[in-house]
Symmetry: C2
């Protein structure tokens, strides 16, 4: 049985959310059940890139992670696409046996029993601007599946409608640590790895989100930009 | 009994370290037992600015924090200068009674029993480039005083000597969560609130620190820039 892997890279630092700044190796899974309008990882989503996804066994993925990290334990970030549509249980078991930690980011559309083996489950329900609609029954099943793994909620926000949606969505899970992240309107086109970004726009949206949230007196969420975009632009593989 | 307060501002987000992105009101204490070469808050350190520090009772400080936050609990960040050279116990007691949380950042040169009343104690031992020398007996006393408060270590790094020093300093407290932060070589002059910064230099130092640390296979620290500098430059009061 093989996994579809779009890319494995690192070590670098996690650029967003609860683990921001933490050294990590990324394992990006190919394939997704969503088609977000502003997806920044289309090369790991669209079927037309399927021939670029490597079929790899868990042992092969693990060998690559070990090589990249020099055998020194760190956090492995499972991303995508939606990594929850494949079976990462064998990979997680291999890594945990060596002292590595695992975080997985998913929109929360597919729950897996093996979420409980993670160190952190980052659930990122998609706001209206994505064009997708959250199935909260499935989302809640993901929270339940996390069990003793630390579950957090991260919501990407592009505009006022997203913000108002986030306020309500967050209320569904008042006990989850909450992260708001301004959207990047100029994600890299999948064919062009080093496209320039609208840095002024990225910064302006961050400023707006901070002001909007704090003016509301909504002090629950942490508000964090995509640090890797600020530092490295849209360059892939960092 | 009054406190010497250089400024109170917010709510904004914490720009660095363990609480990065968290909504906070800053209470910046005036006065410091250190004179770091690259201090970015000289207006709260040098005696020549003493006439700008307001003598305020804890109740007066608390009234201001309450007004700024609209009475909604958030994290209050006690900074400076070195806030540990004054008595913030009464202020912390007032705030905790209302559900607020308190974080304090200090170099770790003066321990106080009331550190135990904090939610988080951020200890920032100064590297060689500061021109100061850490007294580790005093530093360790701060760690002990934190008791059940979450203690973390944050080290600012300007150059290779600082980096090598940080590797050894971190080993003294292997159980503390550790944060590395690239130094900002163009901090705002105290007389000029909106001085421009060398953003390319700030970003270059962040890239260097990430590469240096990860190439070493040193995966313990989180590496985070001063987010407020990336977003707002050196503007004061955000």
């Amino acid at each position: 049985m093989t996994l579809r892997i779009a890319e494995i890279f690192g070590p670098t630092i996690q650029g967003e959310g609860a683990l921001i700044g933490a050294p990590t190796v990324f394992v990006r899974a190919g394939g997704c059940d969503y088609r977000c309008a502003w997806c920044d990882s289309l090369h790991a989503v669209e079927s037309r890139f399927r021939n670029e996804w490597a079929p790899m066994t868990a042992a092969e993925v693990w060998a690559r992670v070990t090589a990249l990290s020099g055998g020194r334990p760190l956090t492995v970030s499972l991303s995508g696409g939606n990594p929850a549509i494949q079976d990462f249980a064998p990979l997680i078991a291999m890594g945990k046996a060596e002292g590595y930690r695992f975080a997985l980011e998913t929109q929360g559309s597919v729950a897996q029993d093996w979420f409980a083996a993670l160190d952190m489950l980052i659930l990122s329900p998609k706001p209206p601007s994505s064009g997708e609609v959250v199935d909260w029954v499935r989302f809640d099943a993901c929270v339940t599946a996390a069990d003793t793994a630390a579950a957090v909620m991260k919501i990407v926000i592009f505009d006022e409608a997203d913000y108002l949606w986030a306020r309500e969505a967050a209320e569904r899970h008042p006990d989850l640590p909450l992260y708001l992240q301004p959207g990047n309107h100029t994600p890299p086109p999948p064919e062009e790895e080093d496209a320039t970004i609208d840095m002024d726009g990225v910064l302006a949206r961050m400023e707006w989100l901070v002001e909007r949230t704090l003016a509301d007196g909504w002090f629950r969420p942490r508000i964090l930009p995509q640090l890797h975009v600020l530092i490295w632009g849209n360059k892939r593989g960092v």
